[in-house]
């Protein structure tokens, strides 16, 4: 007698405006199975799972949970059916404690009681090997702790089907190990687990079966044991691609930017960047690794002059940049492009078109009070052609462009000004493989021209493949500057969490 499928999604479609996010997708997940949902950024994975969590409703198709057909119109319905979703961007209330976050939305007594809850949380923690301090406020938690809290939250609500959206994106290698142990525990208890990911090595490691999505369609479902990474890539992208990033070595090491004992304070007076020193050379891509909020943003901002350096100097071409205005620094040939989580908030004005977004960094060079758009119209056309930016025309508002194209505009704008130093943060956030590689190519081109590139990124594999050296930040301090050819990912992971002694790094600048 065949056991009911935990999840059965048939012919699911979902359209957003002109975009077919899901097109007749099929998915089957068995209980006690770890099922990976694989696909590039933009393939439709999160959309599909959001329909299981009750956030979206399918335009057409059916969903069966444990054999029963369901229609979710809100997250509450989904929770009732035993589905627990751990979102990529945690949905927690920052100012509340762990305990409070667990009980909100729950039917318990009218007044708030402590004891029953504490016991149940402890039971769950023991059962699955999770660890949470119930009285800790979320804003004090590390990313790993927040994720643990999210997991306990759904388990407390009785979830037997867990969906995790890119769970490892923000974890260190050590935390990833821990997570995988928890997932195995859950699998043994009979839970069905779906992991949304685009990381192939993790799929191979932890999943039983894989369903691949591509451009909104389900390509196929395979047993993990019966495929290898090149197979999966071919399913994901549609053709054979070699996923290797070129890394040319240049002998010339001319120092361009010298950061010397720089400290930056945050709004509360604590050091967001603490006594940081390093040198960026020409013909080099210098990577910056670190857990979220380790000081990456402050590093980018202090070099660009957007934030004050409490102590220290930044030397460029003989000049100390500290104290200069952002405009002066831009004029010196230092360009910074930061892609925030919503992709638009810091570098681009969503409601304006490409032309006006190019004007953004350019207009200060114009004399007088009148705004001249002419030169930027020319530049816009040039950029669209050179970088193959998909847009109806150069006057379309930038927020309507799809993922990779937004980043192309941003990066294109910075590169077009022929900088001497290029700082880019999270340049490939949310991009599919093709677009990501185009960006890496662009960066390599700059490196070849002699530009010094500072590359802040999340993906350790990319950092190791692309960068000549990698700085590791932890709580605002540099815990190591390493050569990726000589260390492992785990070493960097240890440096990211501040365990300097256990890592085998070569250079540690004080």
């Amino acid at each position: 007698m065949q056991q009911n499928l935990a999840i059965e999604m048939k012919n699911i479609s979902k359209v957003f405006g002109a975009l077919r996010a899901n097109d007749n997708v099929n998915l089957e997940v068995r209980p006690g199975e770890v099922h990976a949902l694989l696909g590039e950024n933009g393939a439709g994975k999160s959309t599909l799972m959001n329909m299981l969590s009750g956030i979206y409703t399918p335009d057409s198709g059916t969903i069966r949970i444990n054999g029963e057909e369901v229609h979710f119109s809100s997250p509450k319905d989904s929770i009732k059916k035993g589905i627990g979703m751990i979102h990529q961007h945690f949905k927690l209330v920052d100012v509340m404690t762990a305990r409070e976050n667990i009980i909100i939305g729950q039917k318990s007594s009218f007044f708030v009681h402590g004891k029953k809850l504490a016991k149940r949380v402890k039971d769950l923690s023991d059962q699955y090997g999770l660890d949470v301090d119930p009285d800790k406020k979320v804003y004090d938690m590390s990313v790993g702790e927040k994720q643990t809290l999210e997991i306990i939250k759904v388990l407390y609500r009785g979830a037997r089907i867990l969906i995790m959206d890119e769970p490892t994106a923000v974890l260190t290698p050590q935390e990833i190990r821990k997570l995988f142990r928890v997932i195995c525990n859950m699998k043994e208890q009979g839970c069905a687990i779906v992991i949304i990911t685009h990381k192939l090595n993790e799929v191979m490691e932890i999943s039983d079966r894989v369903t691949v999505l591509r451009k909104g369609q389900s390509i196929g479902t395979v047993d993990t044991k019966q495929v290898d990474i090149p197979n999966l890539i071919e399913m994901m992208v549609g053709k054979k691609v070699s996923l290797s990033i070129e890394k040319k070595k240049f002998a010339e090491k001319k120092p361009l930017l010298s950061v010397d004992e720089v400290t930056v304070l945050d709004g509360e007076g604590k050091a967001a960047l603490d006594d940081v020193s390093f040198t960026l050379n020409g013909h080099e891509i210098l990577g910056v690794a670190g857990v979220a909020n380790s000081g990456q943003k402050e590093l980018c901002e202090v070099i660009a002059g957007l934030v004050k350096a409490e102590k220290g100097r930044i030397y460029f071409d003989g000049d100390n940049l500290v104290g200069k205005t952002p405009r002066d620094i831009i004029k010196l040939g230092i360009r910074m492009g930061f892609i925030p989580e919503d992709r638009l908030g810091m570098g681009l004005v969503g409601t304006m078109d490409i032309v006006h977004n190019l004007v953004l960094k350019d207009y200060q060079n114009q004399k007088g009070i009148i705004l001249h758009r002419g030169p930027c119209v020319k530049k816009a056309n040039k950029l669209v052609k050179e970088l193959d930016i998909q847009t109806p025309n150069i006057y379309t508002p930038v927020k309507r462009l799809s993922g990779g194209n937004v980043q192309k505009v941003l990066l294109g704008r910075e590169i077009d000004s022929e900088p001497k130093v290029l700082i880019t943060a999270y340049a490939v956030r949310g991009l599919d493989i093709g677009a990501s590689y185009k960006i890496y190519d662009l960066l390599n081109e700059q490196k070849e021209k002699g530009v010094g590139v500072l590359f802040v990124g999340e993906d350790l594999d990319v950092l190791m493949d692309l960068c000549d050296r990698v700085i590791v930040l932890c709580h605002g301090k540099i815990t190591g500057i390493v050569d990726p050819d000589e260390v492992t990912k785990e070493d960097i992971g240890l440096l990211m969490t501040g365990k300097v002694e256990e890592a085998g790094n070569e250079e540690v600048q004080s």
């Binding site: 957003f16 969590s53 956030i55 979206y56 809100s74 997250p75 509450k76 929770i79 979703m85 979102h87 949905k91 927690l92 209330v93 920052d94 100012v95 509340m96 409070e100 976050n101 009980i103 909100i104 939305g105 729950q106 318990s108 007594s109 009218f110 007044f111 708030v112 804003y139 939250k153 609500r157 709004g267 509360e268």
Partner: protein, 308 residues
Amino acid sequence: MTAFLAACIVAGTPLVFATVGELITEKSGSTNLGVEGMMLMGAVMGFLAGQTTGIPGLALVAAAVAGAAGALIFGVLTVSLRANQIVSGLTLTIFGTGFAQFVGEPLLGSSVPSEITSFFAKVSIPLLGDIPVIGPIFFRQDMFVYLSYILCALAAVYMYRTRIGMNLKALGESNAAADASGINVTLYKYAHILIGGALCGLGGAYLSLVRMPIWQENIVNGRGWIAVALVIFVAWNPIKGFFGGALFGGLSILGLKLQAMGFGVSQYLVDMIPYVATILIVIFGTYKKKKESQPPADLGNNYFREER
């Protein structure tokens, strides 16, 4: 002095209702700048009901319903139609002001029947009213004022000790987190916007039924706006809201007191005091860095679940 303090409470009562009402709305994530309008709507409908029927309870209900009706317009616009909260609230004020002027036109100069005024006459609470100093200030007031005490206490218990109050807090901090936890965002928002509006209506009714029970144009005279500032001043806390209201009530009658004491200050300069004080608290409000006195993080944002 005790007489002055007692008068402060009286002057502060409409502010207390409006402030607690608006802070409840803001706790749910919406800034409703229509407080002045809702108070006026409550004032005129409460007055009309009181004058027509002579039943105090009915007058109060009418006022609350009127305030809630105004809030409903705001709710539909911002919760269901996701319109800009600031402009929607301002429009409600303009509309409410016009509405009260329109309905109140034939009522100008008239007053409420004695059944109402006697119901809201000052009553001393046995025992409590006899405590020296505190007694005359707090416990020899009218029913409406006593209602405000109960309101603040209930609101505090609701917000800090009940499960729904905790859900409310979560909602105001993060619409998305609340939704993902299974809280019905739409229901909570509507409910609290309406409650807030009803309370503002009651605040206005205090003015038209008790404080100066003769209908005049401009009876609210900016108190609604002071209430909006007070919400920030008291850091969204209903107990502090009570004292904040009394404080500002006091500031508004300070001029008369000073003149009575012999200081020959121009009435109009003294009239400025509550407004200048409000400016000062708005300025110093931004200095408060403590996480707990920050506004609800998701305040002012409309929620759309399928946001991409």
